[in-house]
């Protein structure tokens, strides 16, 4: 069993967490000038990096989203931080 660090709750069992999305997707604005292709890219396109990855995860137990840095080959956890603008 692996343990992931929630910035709010500390180390918890991996089964308490849910992967949401790769970090770094910013919503294209303004909506009326966003093309279908840009919107599809925002919704769906990923890097799926091999190695270091920054991802948004949800800690199901406390309901908070946060950023988890991981190595996608070794599965090592490299760190976790709150989302920008979120304070503990």
């Amino acid at each position: 069993m692996q343990h992931f660090p929630c910035p709010f709750c500390g180390l918890r069992n991996e089964t308490e967490f849910h992967f949401a999305v790769e970090a770094g997707h910013s919503r294209p604005e303004p909506a009326e000038r966003v093309s279908d292709a840009e919107w599809a890219a925002y919704l769906y396109a990923n890097k799926s990096p091999k190695g270091e990855s920054r991802e948004v995860w949800l800690h199901l137990s406390c309901g908070e989203y946060f950023i988890l840095s991981r190595d996608t080959v070794t599965r090592a956890v490299l760190g976790s931080v709150t989302l920008p603008g979120v304070t503990r």
Binding site: M1, Q2, E14, T15, H18, F19, D36, A37, W39, A40, A41, L43, Y44, A45, N46, K47, S48, K50, G51, S53, E55, R70, T72, V73, T74, R75
Partner: protein, 416 residues
């Protein structure tokens, strides 16, 4: 290529098997090819075979970074089926199943296709309604599928848990009689042998490090064996595909996850169908050697490592024992994982991307093995003609911008 036959087997048996030849030639890369396929799994090898066989393009190379059939082709649970919901999906997967049905004969290689039937088992009236809906859809799409009642279903899987403590009662489900299993390694080896005989170069240990683009068109690939020129490039690299399209600045709607599989010690014949239990999400069949081959859902942690995590091992194994308490006496022989490329609508990506001359065939997620002949058929069509086959058209990457997703997670309950 020497043909395999009962007579050749008999003759070789009499002379200590000294007359067999290597099934395919291990090639070194030439400077240029008419077409290059990246990925020496079933899909890539099938692509090369059909390029040569159907389209007459024989100067073809298959570049494989490891050994052929060593990725997901050698890591799956060998199930072939076409029990999907949407017409586009049934057309795609049934093309694969129909090609599988003739493959041993066409390739002169026994892929050990065993159409033992598959039951998707339901446990509630609501699940039975959904099963009925899928069975109706299959019949409308001219594929053999039917709703099976509780008695007939129980007779198909005699060891199923019917005790008073059973968490999920078997209420019946969807039956596809043409579904079954095939020898996964044999599929890769059969296509490799047939492709090699038609002049295809199969190059193992050759990793692609870059894609050369000139004037908006593919000009070649950079490999660990040096540059190779080609104007037709096909990617059939499953979980490694996003790393390849990154060379031309294309991001794909793919997340890579590990999918685990398990094999028990061999026992006498006790299960002669493929069974997927909706309650536990575990599926199982028995191999010709007697091993129980089983698996379940994805590890929900994005990864490129070919290893599984413990929570999923526990859930899948517990699911098997809930279905078949008698299997609790068995020991687990092996467990492994493959990296599967999962798309949000659980349907593959087939079509052109980036510079002209570049085509992909990926995003099969947990279901790539069953689709191998169709994946090869359609990618070879794209590479040879530069345009879609009518069956691959709906699976183009443009469906995301057009909002025309083919959501088989919603349609037929694919587990991802």
């Amino acid at each position: 290529m020497k043909r395999y036959s009962a007579l050749s087997l008999f003759r070789e048996g009499l002379r200590a098997h000294r007359g067999w030849q290597p099934a395919w030639t291990k090639a070194r890369p030439k400077p240029a090819y008419d077409a290059v396929v990246v990925g020496g799994g079933g899909h890539g090898l099938a692509t090369a075979y059909y390029l040569a066989r159907i389209h007459g393009i024989n100067r073809v190379a298959v570049l494989e970074k490891g050994w052929i059939g060593g990725g997901n082709t050698g890591r799956n649970t060998t199930v072939c089926r076409s029990n999907y919901f949407y017409p586009e999906s049934v057309a795609l997967y049934d093309l694969a199943l129909r090609l599988y049905e003739g493959l041993s004969r066409e390739l002169n290689y026994n892929i050990m296709l065993s159409q033992r039937g598959m039951l998707i088992a339901a446990h509630t009236p609501a699940q039975m309604e959904i099963c009925n809906r899928i069975a109706n859809a299959m019949q409308l799409n001219n594929v053999d599928g039917k709703l099976m009642g509780p008695e007939e279903a129980a007779a198909r899987v005699p060891l199923i848990n019917t005790g008073p403590d059973a968490r999920y009662k078997l209420m019946g489900g969807i039956w596809q009689g043409r579904a079954g299993t095939a020898r996964h390694d044999a599929v890769a080896w059969a296509y490799a042998r047939a492709a090699s005989a038609l002049g295809v170069d199969i190059i193992e240990g050759c990793e692609v490090a870059g894609i050369d683009v000139q004037n908006g068109a593919v000009a070649g690939v950079e490999t660990t064996f040096g540059p190779i020129r080609t104007e037709r490039l096909g990617l059939a690299a499953a979980g490694a595909t996003p790393g390849l399209t990154a060379h031309v600045g294309v991001d794909l709607p793919i997340h890579d996850y590990a999918l685990q599989a398990f094999v028990s010690e061999p026992v006498k014949p006790c299960l002669d169908t493929v069974l997927l239990y909706l309650g536990t999400g575990t599926y199982v069949s028995q191999s010709d050697k007697g091993e129980l081959v089983f698996g379940g859902g994805l590890d929900r942690v994005p990864t490129h490592g070919q290893r599984g995590n413990l929570p999923v091992q526990e859930a899948v194994t517990a699911g098997l024992l809930e279905m078949f308490p008698a299997f609790g006496q068995l020991r687990l022989l092996r467990q492994w994982a493959g990296v599967v490329d999962v798309v949000p609508d659980s349907s593959p990506l087939i079509g052109p991307v980036g510079p002209s001359g570049l085509h992909i065939n990926c995003g099969w997620g947990t279901g790539g093995f069953k689709a191998i002949p169709a994946g090869g058929w359609l990618l070879s069509h794209l590479m040879a003609k530069g345009e879609h086959h009518e069956i691959s058209r709906p699976f183009d990457l443009d469906r995301f911008a057009r909002g025309r997703l083919i959501d088989e997670a919603a349609g037929s309950g694919i587990a991802h």
